[in-house]
């Protein structure tokens, strides 16, 4: 039995459809209830629906064997897991965004608002740029508009929210997409099952 952690929400729905298309379906998942665990013994899968930011935690602690998670979550945390496949779903970019008329002042530390503290820190370390981070948990775009910070570090999908708030992409940090991850111990004992699933995923994604 493979325990698969999926992120609740739009990405999780897409990933489930992908898994179902390669023979790992579990029709119970569509039932309208509050259950978070769905099992199809015949297909040898058990799906766990968890908060997207918790998928990697479940995998790292062995509560699930494999899972799908955004690269942003993996980069922000430090998880001892295998990252086996880039599924190419949920593509977006981790960016530095700033007001349209922003001109960077190199005379002082840069003030950055973000919920991705580690990604922002590592990025500016690589540029040898001194920064001050203000951690926010949502509506990050507001920070530079109110003068709280100079820039933000956040995920940009279409850029619509930025545009509506008179912001623009100032620098691209890294591309983000959904990744198939596995617990290291699970891979040692269920490696054949995980490799088989991965092979089918690769074939399906190549179509």
């Amino acid at each position: 039995m493979l325990n698969i952690a999926l992120p609740k929400g739009r990405l999780g729905d897409k990933v489930y459809e992908l898994f179902a298309s390669i023979g790992y379906d579990c029709s119970e998942i569509y039932s309208d209830n509050r259950k978070l665990v769905f099992e199809n013994e015949e297909n040898g899968v058990r799906y766990l629906l968890v908060k997207p930011s918790d998928v990697a935690v479940y995998i790292a602690h062995g509560a699930a064997d494999i899972g799908v998670v955004g690269k942003d979550i993996l980069e922000e945390g430090d998880f001892d897991i295998y990252e086996l496949l880039d599924l190419g779903l949920g593509k977006c970019n981790m960016c530095v965004a700033a007001p349209n008329d922003y001109v960077e002042d190199f005379d002082r530390p840069l003030r950055v608002a973000t919920k991705f503290v580690n990604i922002a820190k590592n990025y500016y370390i690589s540029l040898n740029r001194e920064i001050e981070i203000i951690k926010l948990n949502g509506s990050i775009e507001i920070a530079p508009l109110l003068g709280l910070t100079d820039v933000i570090v956040d995920i940009v999908e279409s850029g619509k929210t930025l545009k509506e708030n008179n912001l623009r992409v100032y620098e691209k940090i890294m591309p983000i997409s959904a990744r198939l991850i596995a617990n290291k111990s699970s891979y040692k004992f269920k490696g054949a099952d995980i490799d088989r699933l991965m092979q089918k995923l690769q074939e399906e994604l190549a179509k």
Binding site: G62, L84, K184, K188, F189
Partner: protein, 373 residues
């Protein structure tokens, strides 16, 4: 003895069983102090890879550290009286916990061999590592790698330190998609990139993998590493544990300290490696002249959690007695049960939540079965 071990926690029974195993193989117990000068660990901070050092000032003002690592201390302090020193230990280390971000006492047991390490010793230590894992759980996997494979290839690529670190991180995570893009960004040729990706993905039985590695080996170091792995495969072939060994080149460690064979052990119920070790001639040579070394550590913390022994009863027998009554025969009766191999508790009342197979009341110098609880 088995009944006795069954009454102990997993951590305690492993401590005992592994000590017996290492003794049987001629290893001597090494005991050490809990503290060491802080400067020793700070000089070798890279080896500790950010595990955090708990420091304090002792009475004469010297900065001391609670041991964050056993290997460093053994290599520095052990008396090397003969050509080969074989030691085992049962100690606690104090490190930052990844989950709580606070300091934690971690119990470790393991072996270290110092002196001239040859192919036989590598096979012996690997065999002991496999036996240690089997003692924890018969369902185990020992992943073996060689530091000359991927690092020697990386040295040929002419890439910077940051790119090297990023590639090693990808190899550790079997992340071939990001590995390819990092290689492309750093001008690594397509054939070397594919070779790296193939090596990172290698995970299989020795006999299946060694011919593949022999084909992929493209420099002298890789060919020598292949020969070493072949020797291990041949040495271990007759062992029933050989089928539990895998070659997995994604296992990599700090190249400044480790060389040759390195390995990690997994058991089915634990989510991360419970054993880690390898050959560390570079570290040993740094601290002691002309000394080679190999060893491993078994991480005993958390094993109680994954191997929780659920016992039906707290003891076989519970004897209830009234201290007002004469109890001159009671000790002899308790000893009689214990000598027969039963676990016994003598009490005035039944402790809350206590479960005993048989409950006796001690009255007038004799036992009377009352009821089970």
């Amino acid at each position: 003895m088995e009944e006795f071990l069954a009454t102990m926690s997993k951590e305690d029974s492993l401590n005992y069983e592994l000590s017996m195993l290492y003794k049987q193989w001629g290893y001597k117990e090494y005991r050490m102090a809990k503290f060491e000068e802080y400067s020793f660990y700070s000089d070798n901070r890279d080896f500790l890879s950010g595990k955090g050092i708990l420091a304090f000032n002792n009475s004469d003002g010297r900065l001391m550290a609670l041991k964050p690592d056993i290997t460093l201390s053994i290599v520095k302090n052990a008396k090397l009286t003969c050509a080969l020193t074989k030691l085992y230990y049962n100690e606690s280390v104090f490190r930052m916990s990844d989950s709580t971000m606070d300091y934690k006492e971690i119990k470790q047991t393991g072996v270290e061999v110092l002196g001239k390490v040859d192919d036989y010793l590598v096979a012996e230590v690997l065999s002991l590592a496999a036996k240690s894992l089997k003692t924890i759980d018969k369902d185990f996997v020992l992943s073996v790698s060689h530091m000359s494979f991927i690092p020697s290839l990386l040295s040929e690529l002419g890439i910077g330190e940051n790119a090297r670190k990023e590639i090693i991180r990808c190899v550790n995570g079997k992340n071939t998609h990001d590995l390819r893009s990092i290689c492309e960004k750093n001008g690594v040729s397509a054939d070397k990139t594919e070779l790296l990706a193939k090596l990172a993905g290698i995970n299989g039985r020795f006999d299946d993998v060694i011919p593949v590695l022999a084909d992929l080996a493209c420099n002298e170091e890789m060919k020598k590493a292949c020969d070493e792995l072949s020797f291990i495969a041949a040495s271990m072939r007759k062992s029933p544990l050989a089928e539990r060994l895998r070659v997995d080149l994604s296992v990599l460690n700090n190249t400044e300290y480790y060389n040759g064979i390195i390995f990690q052990g997994y058991v089915e119920k634990a989510p991360s490696a419970v054993l880690s070790g390898g050959r560390y001639d570079k570290l040993a040579g740094k601290l002691r002249e002309n000394t080679q070394a190999i060893g491993f550590a078994v991480y005993l913390d958390n094993l109680n959690l994954y191997y929780n022994k659920k016992r039906e009863y707290d003891s076989d027998i519970l004897i209830l007695f009234d201290s007002a009554d004469s109890s001159e025969n009671l000790l002899a009766l308790v000893e009689g049960f214990v000598d027969k191999g039963f676990s016994v508790r003598a009490e005035h009342t039944v402790p809350e939540g206590y479960r005993a197979k048989t409950v006796y009341a001690y009255e007038n110098g004799a036992l009377k079965e009352v009821t089970s609880c």
